[in-house]
């Protein structure tokens, strides 16, 4: 859809705009910021993109907790660059949300006030340095499975943001896996650390794909709009199928006695996910929810005077010009 449709002397009525929008989606073409779009589409996108941006920013914290203590200078540099990338992803995604009329500061306020969510995975603590590797391998791996289809999202700015984000995420995943490989060839304590971290992160990583399809109220509309391309359960299965051979290569096991290969379907079967835990964590009762939000709030509030100064300075410069 091109913006020229909106420049006609007599604006077309809503039904015609809706028909054009529907045709654009049906043809697999992209909606761009100045195109007409239904209000529900806009709201759903803002919610989803903001949630994604918040996840990037909150996601800096669990790994950031190891920045000062990273056990080699090379690992410190890798982790610092990764956390920096996450800040970059957040900026990029907030910008995509701003093309829909949202405002970054306002979205951040909503996050801090608990009115918008972020990925519940980041409410788990990072207990050892192996967690840094497992987050890269499993959490970023799950994120990639979720996000690669979004590179074809119907909304142009989001799709383009996701292409760049996915490239960097896949790089982070490789780095995380490489850390784990190194640790697995290290001391017995290091190997035990890796298995322990895998045991703690495996189930939460499966929850990253969201509730099962029969309990995912918004999914159908999002798929019809081309915002979402595959169901939660489809993506979850793809992630499991991808991860099991990687675990074998690494020499770790997943904490699921029911995990087994089904030759008939060509997929791995896995045990039941504890959705009660998922609901607890997403509704604010995870191990680190309060701490994550408190730190984000402190960054905003403790430094509010810095942004006021920058604004005041800019105004003075403009007045003097």
């Amino acid at each position: 859809m091109s913006s020229s449709t909106l420049d006609r002397p007599t604006p077309p009525d809503e039904a015609a705009l809706q028909a054009l929008f529907d045709a654009t989606i049906a043809a697999g073409h992209r909606i761009e910021p100045r195109d007409w779009m239904p209000e529900g589409y806009r709201k759903t996108l803002v919610r989803q993109i903001a949630q994604h941006a918040h996840s990037e920013i909150i996601g800096m914290q669990p790994e950031g907790d190891w920045l000062l203590a990273a056990p080699s200078l090379r690992r410190k540099a890798i982790l610092l660059a990764k956390v920096q990338d996450e800040a970059g992803h957040g900026m990029y995604l907030y910008s995509a949300a701003e093309t829909l009329g949202a405002d970054r500061a306002d979205l951040t306020d909503k996050l801090i006030e608990g009115k918008q969510k972020y990925s519940s995975i980041f409410n788990y603590p990072t207990l050892t340095y192996a967690d840094v590797g497992v987050i890269g391998w499993l959490v970023d791996g799950a994120a990639i499975c979720n996000q690669v289809p979004l590179c074809r999202s119907s909304y142009g700015p989001y799709a383009r943001a996701m292409i760049r984000v996915c490239k960097e995420e896949s790089f982070h995943q490789r780095q995380g896996y490489e850390l784990l490989l190194t640790m697995m060839s290290g001391t017995p304590e290091q190997r035990a650390m890796v298995q322990d971290a895998v045991d703690r992160w495996w189930w939460p990583s499966l929850m990253m794909f969201g509730p099962p399809d029969d309990d995912s109220p918004n999914s159908a509309q999002s798929m019809a709009w081309g915002i979402k391309r595959h169901s939660n359960d489809e993506l979850r299965q793809r992630y499991v199928d991808m991860s099991v051979p990687q675990a074998e290569a690494l020499g770790v096991t997943f904490p699921d006695p029911e995990l087994s290969y089904d030759a008939e379907t060509g997929h791995y079967r896995f045990g039941a996910i504890d959705w009660e835990e998922f609901k607890q964590v997403i509704s604010g009762h995870g191990p680190a929810n309060a701490e994550r939000i408190a730190r984000r709030r402190a960054a905003r509030d403790d430094n509010a005077w810095v942004l006021e100064a920058a604004t005041a300075y800019a105004a003075k410069q403009e007045a003097a010009a």
């Binding site: 960097e168 290290g186 391309r229 810095v306």
Partner: protein, 303 residues
């Protein structure tokens, strides 16, 4: 579906391109392929000690700046602070590796096992009394204004030293300096731009910026004081006597403070270079505790 699997495949496997690695994160030894011959007439032990002075300044300041990650005023500043810290960490790695390459490892090898590279043995297995950094880089951050003032001062001093160090007779130091000046010029510029905004922003930011200046200025006391070792290496054409940078640093800082509408404090009386000789306040041991704790818990581990 097929299309996506191709996309995924491409993302998963096609990035052998090392262009995606941030500087300093590569698998190679930092000095791989560099001629590490010590120039004629230079004592390798003294060259190594000098590399520790410059390397420790960078490592300690990188660690301080990293404390800001997830606590910065804006996302753009998270990215910028991480950039500066990564640059300094990269400089530290090269300088510590250079010290190790000429055999200067202090007592670090008493604790670190053979599989640990020199840069990590030096960073993680020396105690505070073997660190050669100045008090300027080790002081706690304070608020954002004080952090910015310290970064401005430290980057200005280091840039002045590195600009001269490009002429060093040691090819490794000359190469590290040639790369470093571009980074340090950015660090200084970033800090100066912020200080203009804070100094000439609101009443509160002006007060905080002035407090930051007043807190950081006394730390300039020993920054220009040369050790005997630095004097000897300067005479040999390898090092830079920090006292030769004093006027340039003063003039840059004076200009920035004036433009930022801030009052220039008295220049502190010159003090002996205690930090360069391993005499530090308790903040260095504290900083090293956070840096070294995990590595020391697992001295036989490889990461």
């Amino acid at each position: 579906m097929a299309h996506e699997e191709t996309v995924y495949e491409a993302l998963d496997h096609a990035h052998g391109g090392e262009g995606h690695w941030a500087f300093g994160t590569g698998f190679d030894e930092p000095l791989a392929g560099v001629d590490t011959t010590v120039p004629d007439g230079v004592d390798p032990a003294e060259l190594g000690e000098y590399c520790l002075m410059l390397g420790d300044d960078a490592l300690v300041l990188a660690q301080r700046l990293t404390e800001w990650i997830t606590a910065s005023p804006e996302l753009e500043e998270e990215v910028a602070v991480a950039n500066v810290a990564l640059d300094l960490l990269g400089q530290a790695r090269l300088l510590l590796a250079r010290a190790g390459s000429v055999g200067v490892l202090g007592r670090s090898r008493e604790l670190a096992t053979g599989s640990i590279p020199d840069e990590d043995a030096l960073a993680y297995f020396r105690d505070a009394d073997e660190f050669r950094n100045t008090a300027l880089v080790a002081a706690p951050n304070g608020d954002f204004a004080q952090t910015i003032v310290r970064l401005l001062v430290a980057a200005t001093v280091r840039l002045a030293v590195f600009a001269r160090l490009r002429e060093s007779r040691d090819p490794v130091l000359a190469a590290i300096a040639a790369k470093g000046v571009h980074e340090l010029a950015y660090h200084r510029d970033h800090a100066a731009r912020w200080l203009l905004r804070l100094g000439d922003g609101t009443a509160e930011s002006h007060r905080r910026a002035q407090d930051g200046v007043d807190a950081v200025w006394p730390l300039l006391a020993d920054v220009f004081s040369a050790t005997d070792l630095e004097r000897r290496l300067t005479a040999a054409g390898v090092a830079v006597d920090p006292s030769s940078t004093r006027e340039e640093v003063r003039s840059v800082l004076t200009e920035v403070l004036e433009r930022a509408t801030l009052r220039l404090p008295e220049w502190p009386a010159e003090a002996p270079p205690r930090g360069r000789l391993g005499e530090h306040g308790p903040e260095v041991a504290e900083l090293l505790g956070a840096l070294q704790g995990l590595a020391r818990q697992h001295p036989a581990a490889t990461w």
